[in-house]
Subunit: 224 residues, 4 copies
């Protein structure tokens, strides 16, 4: 399995300070695993390599909380209400700002903010991927069993090739990581890999893809 820059994008999910930075509201709950897997180093490395190799980068941001959110909604989830109570990712605050090392650059896409967990639900992410010819997505960021998993499940339903990177994400507990990557991931993802293995493949530039991609995609890539 390989990743051609013309068809593969890196999706950076919710790189907010509240998730990724010392002092962030959710950081204390993810810190143990984030440090254990070297999350920040891996995100930095993947973004750098993806840029170097010409992969499109998509920011997939959660809705930034504002006063009034969810008031009078019929069916906000308890999880949404909990985040709202804590004012996670509050608009205009440092916590609701992207981490310094993950700032959009010219040519990057910032999708509409998502209200739930899936970056595709109620946003323009599918359109923005299609308009750049992207059919394969690499999902990194936060949190493994919520936004990453939901975005990955939606991506697969929408016809995308989905890659999970087990040490470029984190979660509240080891069992949540296990659920995301060992129990559920194999039921919808096309590849579950590590940062190191993925970087080797990206560096390879899609050279061997001919042997592995199927049908029409191959025809498309070779047409001329």
């Amino acid at each position: 399995m390989t990743y051609h820059p013309a068809t593969t994008a890196l999706l950076l999910v919710d790189p907010y300070n509240d998730f990724l930075s010392e002092g962030g509201k959710v950081w204390p709950r993810v810190k143990t695993i984030a440090e254990e897997v070297k999350l920040l180093d891996h995100l930095r490395a993947l973004v750098r390599v993806a840029r170097d190799k010409g992969h499109k980068i998509y920011f997939v941001p959660h809705h930034r909380w504002e006063p009034g959110d969810y008031v009078n909604w019929r069916h906000p989830t308890p999880y949404q209400l909990g985040a709202a109570k804590r004012e996670t990712f509050a608009k205009g605050t440092w916590g609701g700002t992207f981490h310094d090392d993950f700032q959009p650059q010219p040519g990057d896409i910032v999708a509409h903010e998502h209200w739930g967990s899936s970056g595709f639900a109620n946003t323009d992410l599918d359109l923005q991927l299609k308009q750049f010819g992207i059919s394969r997505v690499i999902l990194v960021g936060m949190i493994a069993n919520t936004c990453i998993e939901a975005t990955g499940r939606f991506a697969a339903e929408l016809g995308y090739h989905v890659t999970l990177v087990t040490d470029a994400t984190a979660a509240f507990s080891p069992e949540a990581m296990h659920a995301a990557h060992t129990v559920n991931g194999p039921t919808y993802a096309h590849a579950i890999t590590t940062t190191e293995a993925l970087i080797a493949e990206l560096a390879d530039g899609g050279k061997h893809e001919d042997q592995e991609i199927s049908g029409r995609e191959s025809e498309l890539l070779h047409s001329k």
Copy 2:
């Protein structure tokens, strides 16, 4: 939390013989848990009570396999290809037929077949729910961490109130059940309950809902 029959439907996901019957292709892999939680008894009880109380029943069926499926698809998932190889839910076979105890009755809705795990993806389920005024869904059937979870995650993103029933579903392993109901369920579902508790609530007919539903829904229910 309560369930008014005018707004709450029971979604019966993939009640195929291959999943639920002795002799079915997947039954051996789910049998242990299915028997442990008394899955069949609970599904029968829930369907009976739901019908008695006037709840709409939706069948949410997986695509029934046919020769040619997934051939030349660019990105079928390994999971889809595995099921295709085993010809799970093959069209025209007993395994791809609904279990005798779960046959659509007049007035029931049978949604379009889904290709992946979510009953909402690429189907008319959302439309069919809206057209009957349903805004709350109770998800039962198979499998807890794949089709039930994917359908539930999509339902929540689409604005539905989502109820999971921990002993009216099954999975391949206890850890998959745990992932579905303890790790992930609380991140998107509005209620996670048992068959017994749910039946008590359904029997209650939504009598106490006034105290608990919010905002506009209450206004709507009381308008006149």
Copy 3:
């Protein structure tokens, strides 16, 4: 046909200065019809009555142009490229700002910006309607045969009751108005009315709706 405030919202499509104000970029092309149908007066009247009667107001805004938009998109439409060339609704300009008389108030919803013509495509409009229990939409604003028609067609496909108001919109030509309201409207809309008739119905507050709404909705409204 009537309009209960608990279930009916007013959707104000693209009320930008570029469309509605003297000096706006597109105003010269719609001015003749807008003045003929008394568009501005009618929009003001409808918004006022809708607020008075407790109807939810939704702003349904087109994407505001920014440098870089559509660059390297595979399939921008010629229509999108034309608007981009003219920098219609440019972000941060007066033309890309809502008309003074149509400013969001507390409690109003501003949906995600749409890239094409439909307010539902690639946005959170469907979710935001569902979360407030809205199942009927009244479409007003600009332009009759593009954004209003596209939004109406999508609304009908999604299961909403759709009302068009022939003199609360405008277009580039009389034949475009005719196409929108006489040729196409009847193929997807549930009601095609005038501002005067609609205001009479809204004033009526849904009093007679019992005689006309169907099935489950009636049951829902009368439940208790």
Copy 4:
């Protein structure tokens, strides 16, 4: 603008006997225009050339009417109810069967039936296009200002390149054809052409596409 077989599909919308055959329920209303534009000859020619050149063919069928349809739906459109009353495309009847000259062949895709006018709404059409790498759709069949236009509008919103063929469709009136192709088509379609011109382009096999396709698509086609 050209049409590479690896990325361009022919979408055959609603080729039912009720629409296309002498004796069909709707045929009397479309016959005048259908004969004037030589609809049947053009559809046959386009399907033949598309197959010869290796283009994927998609059947995009309207829901076939069955007893019980729309009963108790909250918001069926008057147009849907009219068709239901006439039992247009009734399941199991000749009228609800594809015309003899337009029968699916091995390798063709038959999308889920659509309930309204858009072949994309509540169906698997988008997924089925993505899974074969299709990003350009040529829309032919019935009816110009309803199902063809709705499918085209949705396709454009979803990021597809959309081609309309003015003499490979028909409608109830000349003004409906005019609305579809002259008033509305240019606001969302990428190309509006004739059967003759299109066949010349298809015969050309995408040879000149290099000059005209943009950005990433070009890169993708030339990658290797």
